[in-house]
Point group: none
Chain length 253, copies 2
DNA sequence: CATATTCGTGCAAATTCCTGCATGATGCAG
DNA sequence: CTGCATCATGCAGGAATTTGCACGAATATG
């Protein structure tokens, strides 16, 4: 990757996220932190950003915006997203479900090699507008606005035509007995279908998902190859998956 | 290979990839890196590109990129969008092209009655997330990131399955002689196909589109049922459409 | 205050760049 | 046809840049 291009991308990320974390960028680009630090140092000298311990921020005027946004997006989701994004290998095809957690995966996808992203969420697709190396396949269909994903026969048919290596599945609730579930019948059908078409399916779950009231439309355990959960998730919720010997990745402090 | 021809190719690659790597180009052309470096050096002197260690990048204000086009003439676009949005009737199906002008249509769509929106742009679809009454059909396909629309055989096939009443078409340039055109072959094919499937096609154009340098891939006049343009648009550019008796709506102050 | 990151500097290896020069092709005048 | 000038190209060698690593200093966090 060219140095100039890398710095342009850093500025893109800075504009988009309101912050840049040296370590994360280094991972994304597949370079050492030293290189990124040197970039940040020199870009700070050119008044393109302000240097801070751990990374960089936009120039002074945008600072309040940053602090406001900071509280909104939970760190847990970001950590889960970063973890899952590291599972993506060169030339693979990854299917990203809709939702805020999978959106974090999209933001952390590696930028140092090429791969393909398939998604039925226009929101996820929009996130990837500035990704330098990802090829994006958009699955169309009737838009289910509640969760902003394409559904219906057209979506089912389009999904049948891809064979993703990894599917990152977002769920609405995990019930100690019934397991994974989502609130809409149509949505559940789509998720099941994607899982069937994919070689591996990894569930992304955050703690609040466990507190969701009623499980509705069940997703079968057999479809799951692994789960990415915050480290403080309740044991009871995961019981069915432990017994099924599903790998569980506990991420976070 | 002729030197001039080689340099033209280098510029093509630069436009396509957003970067040029000296080593790779040298391999592709079967020439030494020195030759390529000399090319890059001299093309940089002619202000055709910016030289960086390892290759070259486009000039500082990157070629008309989707994100860069944002906010070019916001007020005019908003007026055009509001005008076009008023053309939407209850229970009709409207196809929204990708682009900033059509995004303004999406923002102004009526909220008092139900209708259907079809689009192959995830950005447009995301705009409609909170619209209370619009049903959104998302056309999928390979995402062409430059303008953020789905393209390819899958998109063509999906478009064939809808029959929009109105298609709001965005164009890259209007040439006084050649007429409507867009910069990408694939994109032009998609636009033509949408127009063929739609009962009516209305062109959305802003003044800066007329100043665009070279028309590339032509869209036929017969596909156009009307044009929505700012009131200060140059007469010359619209001449072909006046002679074809195409209704022209001049919007603005 | 203790611990864990993060930072900065120096250094070495690899890559890329530039300069100067030789070679070969082309064009032109005699 | 010959001789000469011009130009594109490749190559050699030294300069400059980039990058990663190591180690001690600085900083954040509890």
């Amino acid at each position: 990757m060219l140095t100039g291009q890398r710095r342009t991308l850093i500025l893109d990320i800075l504009r988009r996220d309101g912050q840049v974390i040296a370590k994360r960028i280094a991972d994304d680009f597949g370079l050492s932190e030293d290189t990124i630090r040197r970039d940040l140092r020199e870009m700070a000298a050119e008044r393109l950003l302000t240097r801070v311990h751990g990374g960089a921020l936009p120039l002074a005027p945008e600072l309040p915006d940053f602090s406001a946004r900071r509280g909104v997006s939970p760190d847990v989701k970001r950590q889960l997203g970063a973890f899952a994004a590291k599972m993506v290998q060169p030339r693979r095809t990854v299917f990203l479900d809709g939702g805020t957690t999978t959106a974090e995966i999209a933001r952390h996808l590696p930028r140092s090699f090429a791969f393909t992203v398939v998604t039925h969420s226009p929101t996820i697709a929009a996130e990837l507008e500035h990704h330098p190396t990802a090829e994006v396949i958009l699955i169309g269909g009737k838009l289910y606005k509640h969760s902003m994903v394409a559904t219906g026969a057209a979506a089912m048919a389009a999904i049948s035509l891809v064979r993703p290596d990894i599917f990152f599945l977002g769920v609405t609730a995990i019930h100690p007995v019934h397991g994974l579930s989502t609130g809409d019948f149509e949505e559940a059908a789509i998720k099941r279908h994607i899982a069937q078409c994919s070689a591996e399916t990894y569930v992304m779950a955050t703690q609040e998902k466990l507190d969701a009231a009623s499980p509705c439309h069940i997703l079968p355990i057999r479809a799951v190859s692994g789960m990415v959960v915050p480290s403080d998730i309740t044991e009871a919720s995961l019981a069915p998956y432990r017994s099924a010997e599903v790998p569980i990745f506990a991420v976070g402090d």
